[in-house]
């Protein structure tokens, strides 16, 4: 099964999403902010990145820009409540597959 790097600064939400993904058989690595997520990405080379946008130290969009410079093909999913058109467009510009806070929405 593919490995997933989950980056979310809300520990409760991070835990629930991590559990839900693991139930489906994914191997999940969890990071609590963008900077930690970037370090894990470089160490683990996950198959999929699931990241929040608003985080301490390094935000999700900036993280995606850095990841895209290193790896153009890794799928990125933004786990965000932000639904303004500009944010959605920015997410897709960075090669995100989808942007949603609901795990079932993007998991489907």
């Amino acid at each position: 099964m593919p490995s997933i790097l989950l980056i979310e600064d809300e520990p409760a939400l991070g835990m629930i999403v991590k559990d839900s993904l693991e139930v489906r058989g994914f191997t999940v690595r969890y990071a609590a902010d963008g900077q930690e997520g970037l370090e894990l990405f470089r160490q683990q080379c996950p198959d999929i990145v699931v990241a929040d946008v608003m985080m301490p130290r390094l935000d999700g969009f900036s993280l995606a820009e850095i990841i895209r410079r290193d790896n153009a093909s890794v799928p990125i999913i933004f786990l965000t409540a932000r639904s303004q058109p500009a944010d959605v467009v920015r997410g897709f510009e960075l090669g995100a597959m989808t942007t949603s806070k609901s795990p079932s929405a993007w998991m489907s």
Binding site: D9, D19, A81
Partner: protein, 483 residues
């Protein structure tokens, strides 16, 4: 957005530079033209004065010469056109030829006017002209004296008439030249010190090659006087244009900042409001679709998380609603005797227990000090200030809390060595929902209500609060309450 504003700035700068350049070019040209006009006016004035002087001298000469033979010849009107027509000759009444028409102008003069020349009239005119020329030439040959002061006075009067008010020096020069009537052939006399501008030499006595030349100081004051209106208008116009551009740019920048604050507020509120909902939603989904209900312990954890998140959401909604209500209804203050040192000590102890990073407190408040304050709200104020000092800091923080009484009140300062606040945002930190924009970074959770509440409480006590801060150096909040 930044690139667009930068483009606008550069376009504006180019525009202002262009306008300034054109104005400068135009003013320079006008300056040059006014300088040329000065040269022309002074030259023409000198020429006119010299001609008048020569004419006056000639008139006296002719009058004097003719007195011996009891004839008077007036030279005011002696013109001939290409056809040799003599239009008017002015002579004394005694000498009038018998066949000419006569018209008495003044009691002692006659004007003889002929429309068609006849042989006799032409002969009379030629004789008169030759006589006059001979008299003048004789005078020029014999004359050595030039009445320079008189000429200077006449020249100054002429300059005043022509609106040229400047110092002037007249000087004569004698230069033998082949054609004395062509002043262009005459070399200039060296200019006197401080009088660098000179007219060309004007022939005063062509027979003896005597010329007169006027010298002036630099005509800049004259030119500036002439261009005064233009200069003032240009400067005013340039100032107005530059001011308009500056105003426009500052408005754009202010709007941009407001837009940043607004976007940040929307993003922050979206994040803070939606995150608890998303967490609860994820927990419910996990129980419904991901088999969490099959694990009672996990289900219990998810329910507990949901409860906590719903409480968090409820607190947030309550805070926002309260702040809206507080704006309409003033906070109620219930003063009671409070020892600030004790109050601060309690809060410090609580924060030392709860802090998620190393915090060092330095408290300096007179223990015996007692004030009449609303304990609950003032505790809330100090709590918010300490909370902010911890939240907006790096890995560790030192917080200095000082309380001092002055003549009219009591001042409390809370100083930290945290991340500080940019100067442009310092005035806004006490506004409701304001948070210093951080873009997509979300280093500190909050709603922008803490310092708004602080200001409300302080103002309800009749005091005031302000902030001094420097990015990366720290902030100092200073609260003053009347006693």
């Amino acid at each position: 957005m930044k690139r667009r504003i930068r483009s606008i700035f550069w376009l504006m700068a180019a525009c202002i530079l262009g306008i300034n350049g054109f104005q400068a070019y135009w003013l320079y040209n006008t300056y040059q033209l006014t300088g040329q006009q000065f040269d022309r006016t002074t030259r023409e004035a000198l020429l006119a004065v010299v001609q008048r002087q020569l004419l006056g001298g000639a008139r006296q000469l002719v009058q004097g010469e003719q007195k011996g033979v009891s004839r008077r010849v007036m030279l005011q009107e002696f013109n001939s056109d290409a056809g040799g027509q003599i239009e008017r000759i002015v002579v004394s009444p005694q000498s009038a030829p018998p066949d000419t028409g006569r018209r008495v102008l003044r009691s002692d003069r006659l004007i003889i006017t002929t429309r068609q020349p006849s042989g006799q009239r032409r002969a009379a005119a030629d004789t008169a002209a030759r006589t006059i020329s001979r008299i003048i030439m004789n005078d020029w040959i014999g004359s050595r004296h030039v009445n320079l002061p008189q000429l200077l006075a006449a020249y100054q009067a002429e300059l005043r008439l022509r609106d040229v008010q400047t110092a002037v020096k007249l000087d004569t020069l004698t230069v033998p030249v082949a054609e004395p009537m062509l002043a262009a052939n005459v070399p200039n006399k060296p200019a006197p010190a401080g009088y660098p501008v000179q007219t060309p030499p004007i022939p005063l006595n062509p027979i003896r090659s005597v010329f007169v030349q006027a010298s002036f100081p630099t005509p800049t004051p004259y030119i500036l006087r002439q261009m005064g209106g233009l200069l003032a208008g240009s400067v005013a116009l340039l100032g107005l244009t530059t001011g308009c551009f500056a105003l426009m740019l500052s408005t754009i920048l202010r709007q941009k900042k407001l837009s940043e604050v607004k976007n940040d507020f929307i993003n922050n509120m979206t994040h803070e409001l939606k995150t608890p909902l998303a967490t609860v939603s994820a927990a419910v989904e996990a129980m419904q679709n991901f088999g969490a209900l099959n694990d009672p312990q996990k289900a219990q954890t998810y329910l507990s998380i949901s409860q906590k998140e719903l409480q968090r959401l409820s607190d947030l909604v309550e805070k926002v609603l309260n702040s809206a209500v507080e704006e309409r209804q003033q906070l109620t203050i219930n003063p009671e005797p409070v020892r600030p040192a004790e109050l601060v000590q309690e809060l410090v102890a609580r924060h030392q227990l709860q802090a998620s990073k190393p915090v060092r407190f330095e408290v300096d408040i007179e223990p015996s000090e007692s004030l009449s304050l609303d304990r609950l709200h003032v505790a809330g104020v100090i709590n918010n200030l300490i909370d902010n000092a911890i939240k907006y800091s790096r890995e560790q923080v030192t917080i200095a809390i000082k309380g001092r009484r002055d003549e009219t009140g009591w001042r409390l300062t809370v100083q930290d060595d945290g991340i500080g606040i940019p100067r442009s945002y310092q005035a806004a930190v006490f506004d409701r929902f304001f948070r210093v924009p951080t873009g997509n970074l979300h280093p500190v959770k909050g709603f922008g209500l803490g310092l708004y509440y602080v200001r409300q409480v302080v103002e309800r006590h009749g005091g005031h609060i302000d902030v001094r801060s420097e990015p990366n150096r720290g902030s100092e909040f200073s609260m003053w309450l009347p006693v």
